[in-house]
């Protein structure tokens, strides 16, 4: 897997104030140019954050820079990486329509801080991420499975989950 490079310099599309605020929180920006991807592909500026700074970064973005719309919240499973999961969230400034993608990494069984107190739309998205990947979200008001039955065993979107589903329910 060719991984993305990280730099301390924000891409030129990011506003200076935003770039400064995130860099102050220890964000490292994804350098898609290093992967040789076409410029239009993955145009969203993306930054990697420490888990401890996750909520703080979104609070700053929302309160001071107008990123008040949580577009998406999910996770990716990289079984060969040491903090196994990458939690991804996309926010938009609903006035200027700037979009930012932030991510952080959590290990298996480790909790990720919840964004639900900041964005109501994170509620179901985090339940879905929990349901599919088994990542608990700390501070979520009601973290239960959202798609699968409550007594379902396993986390279906993890890479080590069998493609055809497990046969626990079957004869």
């Amino acid at each position: 897997m060719s991984s993305i490079g990280y730099t301390n310099d924000a891409p030129p599309t990011v506003k200076t104030a935003v770039a400064y605020a995130l860099s102050a929180l220890g964000a490292r920006w994804c350098d898609y140019a290093a992967t040789g991807a076409a410029p239009r592909f993955r145009a969203t500026p993306a930054a990697l954050l420490e888990k401890a700074r996750w909520v703080e970064a979104f609070a700053t973005l929302k309160k001071e820079h107008g990123f008040d719309l949580l577009l998406d919240h999910s996770a990716v499973d990289y079984p060969d990486r040491t903090p196994r999961f990458t939690v991804v969230a996309v926010v938009e400034n609903s006035t200027t329509h700037d979009v930012l993608l932030l991510k952080t990494r959590v290990a298996d069984g480790e909790a990720c801080p919840s964004l639900t107190p900041l964005f109501r739309s994170a509620d179901w998205a985090e339940r879905e991420t929990y349901d599919m990947f088994g990542i608990p979200f700390e501070g979520h008001p009601e973290l239960t499975r959202i798609y699968m039955p409550q007594d379902y065993d396993g986390w279906p979107l993890r890479k080590d989950f069998p493609m055809e589903g497990h046969l626990k329910f079957r004869d």
Partner: protein
């Protein structure tokens, strides 16, 4: 008595149709009533449900066979028609509906999804509703044409006509338990406490054998 099979059992005692009376067995009378008034509970879960609606509508017209009264209460239905893709979450609902239906009850798995999971070989989809409840008929197709559904319903009528369980239920020496229905408690008819049906209760003659169950002697169906 327009029905040929039922009239085969019926004898006109006087030779005249007016003012006379007919002799028959209770079994064939009951079967005749049952098969011409099958009330389906359509469990339309996805695209097959739309095809079932076509079957019920005027072009194909299920009501020609006395089946137009689709009931959305399991307590009033005789036939559970599972049309569509069943997920594990919905399977709990389906088994509850099935357990609420009064005996006698029949089940049709309509379409590839209900019969075998169809093209959805993945984590949320039940690979055939017979993982949970006994099935009388499987209709192939994705979706099955209304003709195929009608054919299946006619086959179901034939199956009901062949039914001989009524006699067994009459000699109720040892308190027959109809799961989720009436129970004879020391001679009085009373509602049974809701009892979870066992695997043996759900066995139906001719059902697809299940993996892991020894073939040979079928489980005894409790009456």
């Amino acid at each position: 008595m327009a029905d040929s099979a039922a009239t085969a059992d019926v004898v006109s005692a006087t030779g005249s149709t007016e003012g006379g009376f007919l002799l028959s067995t209770l079994q064939s009378m009951v079967n005749w009533c049952r098969k011409n008034s099958v009330w389906p509970l359509p469990l339309g879960l996805s695209c097959c449900g739309i095809e079932f609606m076509a079957t019920a509508c005027s072009r194909y017209d299920m009501s020609r066979f006395g089946m137009e009264v689709a009931r959305f209460s399991p307590r009033q239905a005789d036939l559970l028609l599972v049309a569509g893709t069943l997920t594990y979450k919905m399977a709990q609902v389906m088994t509850r509906l099935y357990d609420q239906m009064a005996e006698p009850r029949w089940v049709i798995a309509m379409g590839a999804c209900a019969s075998s999971g169809g093209m959805f070989r993945s984590y949320p989809v039940v690979q055939g509703i017979d993982e949970f409840i006994p099935v009388d008929f499987y209709i192939p197709g994705c979706p099955p044409r209304p003709d195929a559904v009608l054919n299946c319903l006619l086959q179901l009528q034939k199956k009901i006509e062949r039914d001989r369980s009524y006699r067994l239920a009459l000699d109720a020496g040892d308190a027959p338990v109809a799961k989720g229905g009436l129970v004879a408690v020391s001679g009085r008819g009373e509602m049974a406490a809701p009892a979870l049906a066992q695997a043996a209760d759900r066995y139906v003659e001719g059902a697809r054998p299940k993996a892991g169950v020894e073939t040979g002697t079928p489980p005894v169906r409790q009456r």
